[in-house]
Each structure stands twice: as structure tokens, then as C-alpha cells.
């Protein structure tokens, strides 16, 4: 199975996205399709043996939208796009292809000499992008990462430019039409030339609008109808087309009974088009702004890098830096790629990636993140991740994917929109029939002397037929569900972008939806609530010396990477003890270590380990152990050859702001639970320091997932916060899994939300942001449906019997454009979200 994301131009609203989904799903071999009008993309999962990528693109293009790019993701095959520099002729392209095809893990290669582009499909388990680039380099050419996003930026700019030109043209012609139509009102006839009121002149001015800026509605409708799709284009095309044609007939046959020269059909058609095209232009501009977070991230990339090659310092394009290169960064320069510091000391401003406002000190051995700013000193570092593997590239990719994944609320809105268009046409027909057969005569429209709002059409001059058609057109125009289509994706786009600014990466609208319903937060202890770097605090010896107890404990723990083991080993080294190597070593998760040294068997662990091996524990030992645990320390029993001889205790410190974060979570009305493998006493001691009442202790790593399940079975919506790699099953099981302190390893993190910084306050920020975003979506949907719910009956004439008020098609177009813009502007308010300070 292959999953591919296609970038598509021309999508306006939810019904466009639905049309694309329907068209693509018709092809055999398609597993799922997820289209998003706001991001202008569609993610398709398909079986390559049954349907080709080309067929999918053709299916999408046939609906009237254009595929402008694609990106393949996951499912055992990745795609890498590169530019290959140095190819002088087509044979070079053949050579590169052959070299790549001979490489292990390469599934497909396409190298085009003319464009210098190479597309490589590969198995990520067998080869990495760095390996692919090495193959190309070994063949004698220079591989560079392609900026795929440039194509999308260009397409967006083009869309904005087209709609701007359309807007200018439509208003340039509409204004004289309006002047000519309203010429006989007030004092205007003295300043507006007579010829402008001539119906043939109005026809001449209206035609370029319909054939130019208005053409997009007709072509979009035709392409949709060919495949049985109805969308907002059809509503608009029907309305403007009907008005224009009525104008033509009325001009050519003024005595035919369509109202004569006084009825301004051309003005209706022109203004309808002008308002709707203006709405499209504003939509295109705001689409660009709502995805500003991604644009901002993309602009962060450094353009040049200073590397040491063959002993010399050379300045090269940042995208040509290779893994392993030694990179130099001077004060005030941007760090070009991810790496590890090999020399130097400096403060680095990482706020653009992690949201951390205070510069972070970097010294030898510390990681640096590409696109961050080196502040004070010179840094020399070894590149570890370049191109699409850098933290920045992973963040951008994650956000882009998140903005394509639809939450349930949006899927519901899409379904409603899809049926809505049909319902609108039925209501429009019913409106026409009502006024034609009954309303016009019953409410005495002909003698009422009123007129449509914002229109020069005088009711007494139009027949029942014309009146009923105009009412029908108004219903069509005012019903456009564009605002409904914008309501959810615009908010998700801004919400996820806001999260990214603060180092919170939300993997999709579903995660947002679940996060706002969370009522229970489970915090892992070690590494989440605590720093995860315990230190040795106590050594107690019985029938032995403290030095021996510590030395042998350190010997047993030397092979372990567990933080507790590191604390014991460091403690022993600090005391100047010599630590030998154990002959055998066996770590038993959740219990301890068993090691062998010079025919002695060492046990170091908890009560369970001792019980499993039949080792008796004295009352004194148990008493000392309880005392240490009540102080919040983790006490391990040391036993040699089956006899308990001592205790070794370590303690971990709470992270900064852990108390504040727990307090805030409780203020939000959430139940906060701590989960740990520690014994109950130690766990409760730590929990009470941080303000947590409920503790799940002595939980083996493999059982954390079950604890989450138990809480979910009680009907709770659970957030689990922990290490994204080690706690992966529990994070995945939770309704919202939050991986904290991921640093640059974003792609490897499990869970639905990734917190880049190691700051517990981000949990609060993430939950508050999700609540704000969902609230914004609900506001938007309310207003969007309200516009339609209120607008349709008014457009159909509901206010006429009591208030003699009628909405003209022009006013309907203005209100419709306003509804889309107001929903987008409401979403923009989400940009003011700031993390709470405490």
C-alpha cells in the first residue's frame, strides 16, 4: 500500500474537497482519500498493483482541479526527490539511475537529465536518504534536496494574482454598469452620460465580466456535473448565468414581457460576479495567511553554511551540507543543519523552533538544531541530520500532515455541505414555484411598489415569472456553504501553527478534538515529572562495608543504561572506587539486576527481585528501606550470594515548573495521576511534593498501557504524558498521547502531540490550545450555518409579507462573501493565543 499526498490547485471549499474524494474513490485500488480545501492537498492510500499514480492524477484533473505536486509517505516505501548537479548529458542520467538501482533498498528510480531531477522510491528499513546521496556522490555527482514547497508557494501566489486580476476586471466593468443602471435615480442623470444607460451598452460591459472573471464558475460547474458532482460553482453559475441570459433576452426583445429596459438583469449578473470574485480573492489571501506558520518555518532555513573540507573553510549552499561535515557557525549566524557540538561554547536562540525564549547554552557534546540562531560564541559542530531529516523539516512535514487529517467534526461538516447543495436547489425550485403560482398574486407584489434591497429592480415592473426567478436566484446565491467549508480547516491550520510556534506539534485534527475533551492526565514519573537524572544519596551496609556495597552495586549496574544505574556508577566513581566488569549481567524490567563477578552472584533491585530469588529481608533492612522511601528516594536492596547485605538509595529531582503545571492542570478541572515503576512509598512521597493525590505505583513498563486502558474503560478521556520512545504503547493507547522533551527526534516520537521542550507547562498550553481551537471551530460552524439558516428563508421572501423586505441577488452575493471572510477573520483571533504565564 502506498500513501501519497497530492498538492491540488483550485479547491475552494468543502464541496470541492468532497468532489475530489468522490472522483478518486471511483478508481479501483483506492483504499482511502482525504482532501482538504484549505491546505489544497489530498492524501490518497492505494494499492499500486491495481491503480497507478497517473490514473489517480487523471481522475482528480477530470473534476476540474489540477494536481501540481505530490509527496509519498509511509507504508514501507518512501520517496526522495533530489536535484543532481554535474550531469552533462543524458548518459549521465542513465549512469546515476544504474548506480542507484544497484543500491540495496532502492525500489524505483527516475532521473531526468533536462531538469536535473531525480525521484527515488526506497525502503527506509534498508537505506536512508544519506545512503542514497552517497551512492550519487560516489558516482561522481552532487545531490541536493529539492525545495518541493516552492512549487506550492508559487501556485498559491499565482492563485492570488489571478483572483486579484479577476476582481479588478469585474469591478472595472461593474461600476459603469451600476452607474448606467442607476442613472435615472436622484441627480445622477445630470452627471452620467446617457449612452451608459443604453441596454446594449450595459450588455457590452457585462459580457467581459461573465466570460472573464465569471468563467471559473461555469467551467467548474461543467466539470463537476460531468461526474455527477454539484458544488458551489453550480449555485453561482446558475444565478449569474440566469441573470445574464434574462438581460440578453430582455435587451433583444424588450416587449417580450420580461420587464423591459427598466429591469436591471445585467447589473445583477455583474455585481453577483464582482462580489463573488472578491470573496475568492480574499479567500486566497487568507488561505495564504492561515498557513503563515508553515511559511514562517520554511523561511527559517539558512541559505549558506561554512564547512571545513580538506582542512579549508569553505562557504557552500546549506542544502549541500553532508552528514559528518564539520560546520562552523560564528556569532550572529544561523545554524544551517542539525548536529552535535565538537568545539566551542555559545548561547543559541532556539525560540523559533522550540518557543524557548531564553538562549540555551551549547558546549561540546550538546545537540544543535538547524535554523536556530547562534548568539554569542563560535561553534564548531558535526552535521548529524541534513535536508528532509532535520528537526525543522520534520516539524514542517508533521504540521502539513496534521492539517490534512480531518477531525470528525469536519467530516460531519463536509457531509452536511455535500447534501446541502442538493437541498438548496430543491428550495430554490420550491421558492420559484411558490411565488409563481401563489405568492406573487396573494401578496400583491405587483402593486406593492417595493423593490429589492441594493437593487434598482422595481417590483411593479416585473412579472410573476421574472419575480419568481429572481427570488430563486437569490436563494441559490445566499446558500453557498463556503463558510461551512472554511470553518474547520482554517481553525486547525491556525491552531496547529500556533502550537508549532510554542514547540507543541499536534499530529492532526483528531488529536485536537480528543485533547479538548480530556478529563484525566497521567504523568509518567521518571523523565517526565522528574529530571530523569537521579543521584546517589545513601549507602547502608549490613555485615559488610559501605564501600563494598557501593562498589559491587556499581559493578552490577555498569552494563545498564537505566538512569538509576548511571547514578550508582557515577556515585561510586566520585568516591574513587574501582569498578570492575561483571562476567554476566541480566536486567529484569521492573525488578532489578542480577550479575556475576568472580563466582559471586550479585542481586540489586526491589523487594520483588528478592522474593523471586528467595532472599530473606531483615526487619532492620525493611525499616531502613521504608525510611528512605518515605523521603522520596528509590532504595535498592543489595544481596550477595543469596544474602541481603545493604541498601543503595538514589533520588531524582523534580523538574522546574512541575508543581505549577500540576496545579494548573487541576485548576482546569482535570484529574492528575502519576504512574511509575517505583514502590508505593517512594511514589507517594514524590507525588505529594508535586501535588498529586492519586498514584499508580509498581507498574511494570509493559503494564502502563493496561493502566491507561483501565481508566478508559471507566469512561475517562485520558492524556498520557511520557517519553515518546520508551512509553510508546501507553502513549498510543491513550486518547491523547503526549511525548515530552523530544528534542530533535520528532519523527520517532509516538503519541498524538509532541512537546519539543522539556517543560511540563507545555502540557497545559497544549490542552488549552486544543480547547481554544475546537471552540473556534464550533463558533465558525455556528456562524456559517447561521448565515445559511437565516439567509435562506429571508432570501426566499419570508420577511416580505410582514416587512416588505426582499433580498436582491446582489445583496445575497455580498452577504455570502461576507460570511466566508467573517469566518476566516474569526479564526485569525486564534493567533492571539498565548501560553499562560505562571
Amino acid at each position: 500500500m502506498i500513501r501519497k499526498t497530492f498538492k491540488i490547485s483550485g479547491m475552494r471549499c468543502a464541496s470541492c474537497a468532497q468532489n475530489i474524494e468522490k472522483a478518486a474513490k471511483k478508481e479501483k485500488g483506492i483504499i482511502s482519500v482525504n482532501a482538504n480545501a484549505l491546505t489544497g492537498s489530498a492524501t490518497v492510500e492505494y494499492e499500486p498493483e491495481m491503480v497507478s499514480e497517473e490514473k489517480i492524477k487523471q481522475a482528480i484533473n477530470r473534476t476540474g482541479y489540477k494536481v501540481i505536486g505530490e509527496e509519498e509517505t509511509a507504508a514501507g516505501k518512501n520517496t526522495l526527490k533530489l536535484k543532481v548537479i554535474g550531469m552533462n548529458n543524458p548518459h549521465c542520467a542513465g549512469l546515476v539511475e544504474k548506480a542507484l538501482k544497484d543500491g540495496k533498498g532502492i525500489l524505483g528510480v527516475e532521473v531526468v537529465f533536462a531538469t536535473e531531477n531525480a525521484k527515488i522510491i526506497y525502503d527506509p528499513l534498508l537505506i536512508e536518504p544519506a545512503g542514497i546521496k552517497k551512492i550519487i556522490k560516489d558516482a561522481g555527482y552532487e545531490p541536493i534536496d529539492v525545495a518541493a514547497e516552492d512549487k506550492e508557494t508559487a501556485a498559491r501566489k499565482k492563485e492570488i494574482k489571478i483572483q486579484l486580476v479577476n476582481t479588478i476586471i469585474s469591478w472595472a466593468f461593474s461600476i459603469p454598469i451600476m452607474l448606467g443602471t442607476f442613472r435615472e435615480y436622484w441627480f445622477l442623470s445630470s452627471i452620467i452620460p446617457e449612452f451608459l444607460g443604453n441596454p446594449y451598452v450595459l450588455w457590452l460591459l457585462a459580457t467581459p465580466i461573465i466570460l472573464g472573471p465569471g468563467r471559473q464558475f461555469f467551467s467548474g460547474s461543467l466539470k463537476g456535473l460531468k461526474h455527477g458532482f454539484t458544488d458551489m460553482n453550480l449555485l453561482v453559475a446558475t444565478g449569474t448565468g440566469a441573470a445574464y441570459l434574462l438581460g440578453v433576452v430582455n435587451t433583444l426583445f424588450p416587449e417580450a414581457g420580461f420587464g423591459g429596459p427598466k429591469v436591471a438583469f445585467f447589473e445583477t449578473a455583474a455585481l453577483l460576479t464582482a462580489f463573488l470574485v472578491l470573496g475568492r480573492y480574499l479567500e486566497a489571501v487568507t488561505k495564504g495567511r492561515t498557513s503563515a506558520a508553515i511559511r514562517k518555518l520554511m523561511d527559517l532555513k539558512a541559505k549558506m553554511a561554512r564547512v571545513i573540507r580538506d582542512g579549508e573553510e569553505v562557504s557552500i549552499p546549506a542544502e549541500t551540507v553532508q552528514v559528518g561535515d564539520i560546520v562552523l557557525v560564528k556569532p550572529g549566524e544561523k545554524i544551517p543543519v542539525d548536529g552535535v557540538v565538537v568545539d566551542g561554547y555559545s548561547g543559541v536562540d532556539e525560540s523559533m523552533i522550540t518557543g524557548e525564549s531564553i538562549p540555551v547554552e551549547k558546549k561540546k557534546g550538546d545537540n544543535v538544531i538547524g535554523a536556530t540562531m547562534n548568539s554569542t560564541g563560535m561553534l564548531k559542530f558535526k552535521a548529524t541530520k541534513v535536508g528532509q531529516e532535520t528537526a525543522l523539516a520534520q516539524i514542517i512535514k508533521l504540521i502539513e500532515e496534521a492539517q490534512t487529517a480531518k477531525p470528525k467534526i469536519q467530516r460531519l461538516a463536509d457531509i452536511v455541505s455535500g447534501h446541502f447543495i442538493l437541498a438548496v436547489h430543491i428550495i430554490a425550485l420550491a421558492t420559484f414555484l411558490f411565488w409563481f403560482f401563489f405568492g406573487y398574486d396573494y401578496f400583491k407584489v405587483a402593486i406593492s411598489g417595493g423593490q429589492f434591497l441594493l437593487s434598482p429592480v422595481i417590483l411593479s415592473l416585473v412579472s410573476a415569472g421574472i419575480f419568481s426567478v429572481l427570488m430563486s436566484i437569490t436563494v441559490l446565491i445566499i446558500s453557498c456553504p463556503c463558510a461551512v467549508g472554511l470553518a474547520t480547516p482554517s481553525a486547525i491550520m491556525v491552531g496547529t501553527g500556533k502550537g508549532a510556534e510554542n514547540g507543541i506539534l499536534i499530529k492532526g485534527g483528531d488529536a485536537l478534538e480528543r485533547a479538548h475533551k480530556v478529563d484525566t492526565v497521567i504523568l509518567d514519573k521518571t523523565g517526565t515529572l522528574t529530571k530523569g537524572k537521579p543521584v546517589l544519596t545513601d549507602v547502608v551496609a549490613y555485615d559488610s562495608s559501605e564501600a563494598d556495597v557501593l562498589r559491587l552495586s556499581a559493578l552490577a549496574e555498569k552494563g545498564s543504561e537505566h538512569p538509576l544505574a548511571e547514578a550508582i556508577v557515577s556515585g561510586a566513581k566520585e568516591k574513587g572506587l574501582k569498578i570492575d566488569e561483571a562476567k554476566h549481567f541480566n536486567a529484569i524490567p521492573g525488578k532489578g539486576i542480577v550479575a556475576e563477578f568472580e563466582k559471586n552472584k550479585i542481586f540489586l533491585g526491589n523487594r520483588r527481585l528478592m522474593a523471586d530469588n528467595g532472599i530473606e529481608l531483615t526487619q532492620k533492612l525493611l525499616g531502613d528501606m521504608e525510611r528512605l522511601e518515605s523521603e522520596g528516594k528509590t532504595a535498592m536492596i543489595f544481596a550477595l550470594n543469596g544474602k541481603a547485605q545493604g541498601l543503595v538509595a538514589v533520588a531524582d529531582t523534580l523538574k522546574e515548573f512541575s508543581v505549577e503545571a500540576v496545579r494548573e492542570l487541576k485548576k482546569m478541572g482535570l484529574e492528575v495521576i502519576m504512574i511509575t515503576g517505583d514502590n508505593e512509598r517512594t511514589a507517594k512521597a514524590i507525588a505529594s511534593k508535586v501535588g498529586i493525590e492519586r498514584v499508580l505505583s509498581q507498574v511494570l513498563p509493559q503494564d502502563k498501557e493496561n493502566e491507561v486502558k483501565k481508566l478508559q474503560a471507566q469512561g475517562k478521556i485520558v492524556t498520557m504524558v511520557g517519553d515518546g520512545i520508551n512509553d510508546a504503547p501507553a502513549l498510543t493507547q491513550a486518547d491523547v498521547g503526549m511525548a515530552i522533551g523530544s528534542g530533535t527526534d520528532i519523527a520517532k516520537e509516538a503519541g498524538h502531540i509532541v512537546l519539543i521542550k522539556d517543560d511540563l507547562r507545555d502540557i497545559v498550553t497544549a490542552l488549552k490550545l486544543s480547547k481554544k481551537t475546537i471552540s473556534k471551530i464550533k463558533q465558525n460552524l455556528f456562524w456559517a450555518f447561521f448565515y445559511n439558516a437565516a439567509g435562506i428563508p429571508i432570501a426566499a421572501g419570508a420577511l416580505y409579507p410582514s416587512f416588505s423586505l426582499l433580498v436582491s441577488p446582489e445583496l445575497a452575493a455580498l452577504l455570502m462573501a461576507f460570511s466566508s471572510v467573517s469566518v476566516t477573520l474569526n479564526t485569525m483571533l486564534l493567533k492571539r493565543f498565548k501560553p499562560s504565564k505562571y
Binding site: 454539484t230 442538493l422 415569472g465 421574472i466
Partner: protein
């Protein structure tokens, strides 16, 4: 082709019904003509949207 025939047939039926109704109330000829075009067009769009959905439901059942 078969689908198009169904849509057009439904639209024609709707239009004929409209004509009969309009003639019964003695509506002016221009209004009747306008109404015929408008009803035909809207009925065509409605039937083109409803019929495929009905067929899909039948296949599912």
C-alpha cells in the same frame, strides 16, 4: 447515456407538470416560457444529484 436519459426524462416530466399548472392559472406566455426553462434546468440538476445517490443505496442494499 442511460443516466442522462433518466435525468432528462425527470426534468421533462417536471416541466410538463409546470406547463399544465401555468396554463391552468392563465399565466402570460413569456412567464410560462421563462418558467419552463427554469424548472427544466433546476429539475435536471436536482435529478442529476438525487438519482446517483438512490442507485448507490440500491446497490448497497
Amino acid at each position: 447515456m442511460k443516466d442522462a436519459l433518466i435525468y432528462v426524462s425527470i426534468s421533462v416530466i417536471s416541466t410538463v407538470l409546470f406547463y399544465l399548472g401555468a396554463a391552468a392559472i392563465k399565466a402570460p406566455g413569456s412567464d410560462i416560457l421563462l418558467g419552463i426553462i427554469w424548472v427544466f434546468f433546476l429539475s435536471l440538476i436536482i435529478s442529476a444529484s438525487i438519482v446517483p445517490r438512490l442507485f448507490k443505496k440500491e446497490i448497497k442494499n
